[in-house]
Assembly symmetry: C2
Amino acid sequence: MTTKVIAFDADDTLWVNEPYFQETEKIFCKLMDNYLPPAETSRELLKTELKNISLYGFGVKSFVLSMIETAARVSDGQANMELAGKIIEMGQVLLRKPVELLDGVKEVLQELNGTYYLVLATKGDLLDQERKLQKSGLDKYFHHIEIMSDKKEEDYRKLFKRLNCRPEHFMMVGNSYKSDILPVLELGGYAIYIPYHTTWAHEQADEEIESPNCYKINCFSELITLLKK
Amino acid sequence: MTTKVIAFDADDTLWVNEPYFQETEKIFCKLMDNYLPPAETSRELLKTELKNISLYGFGVKSFVLSMIETAARVSDGQANMELAGKIIEMGQVLLRKPVELLDGVKEVLQELNGTYYLVLATKGDLLDQERKLQKSGLDKYFHHIEIMSDKKEEDYRKLFKRLNCRPEHFMMVGNSYKSDILPVLELGGYAIYIPYHTTWAHEQADEEIESPNCYKINCFSELITLLKK
């Protein structure tokens, strides 16, 4: 393993994200209680999100638009616009959340910063991810920031080209097996999988594969030990 | 003038954009006719958009969210959610619009492609701009794509760094005096201003400045003549 570039996913790898979305979804389902039980609203929302993902992409704004679309459909257009106003506000609260770093993140980045070329490789909304990075105070550790519209093989291929980096010198660290691990392994890179306690349904991979290029660790600080091996 | 890098704005410089937004806004104002006269709804919408711009950034999703927020406020929450559903749909129509190139664009890019390092430098929604570029068939002419969350001096400074390009070797071509021209001139670069017949209120500059580094042309194909001088 001759890693030169280490790329990090951001949401739920460096900082808390999915729990905030789930919290918001819970409030949304409660608001729709007059029309459908929460579990069914939740299923309807996921259906809307999956339908819209190729059109909207990832991130808070897409999530808010899908909640409003779901609310209009589930209430058969009969709820009043106060509901839409409340959902808009929930989205703005989500966009203004402080950034809560996960354990060990700052220390590990600080330590790796001299030895490796560090990249932030995250998908989602451009402005929102830039803002979170700035709020996090982690921007000074990264040599390159890549905000991607998706994280499929093709997207990583473009990233390698942009970084002028061969896959065997590239290591991706992330919590989404589907977006951070599988495509990188397929291209011949290395991947460190740090599962987070909760994952959005769309990010769940069908199964984990066996690969000598993949390591699974339980917390961020294990990364240092692993890289020293 | 020893230009090495030419960067192009996209919306209303390479392809039609603002007229589609205005068309959508017109339909929106008509939908709100029961509550407010169209001209006032239009003013309310702009107010909402300006309030939200630092939180949402640019692009269709931000526009749709601001229309829904305006509709909720203007109707005092009393319109029904069918209206929100309609606005969502208008946004999806906007995202699916075909890309309509402006006159001469393809030919000029083709001609400049061998001589200069060509960059697409556009702001807006990441996925939407990537999709428009792909639909446009122009991606093959660009050596570098930069989708920016904003186009202020600071953002151009980062772009110069990323391109490893000195301002005096950089030329920006665009239709927004405020976003494409002024910040580049301030930094010592060159700028070609191609006014479009219509501009979003937020993009209107207070005044044009006199600068030997700035050229104003009427159509895209004049660029070739200008660069040959």
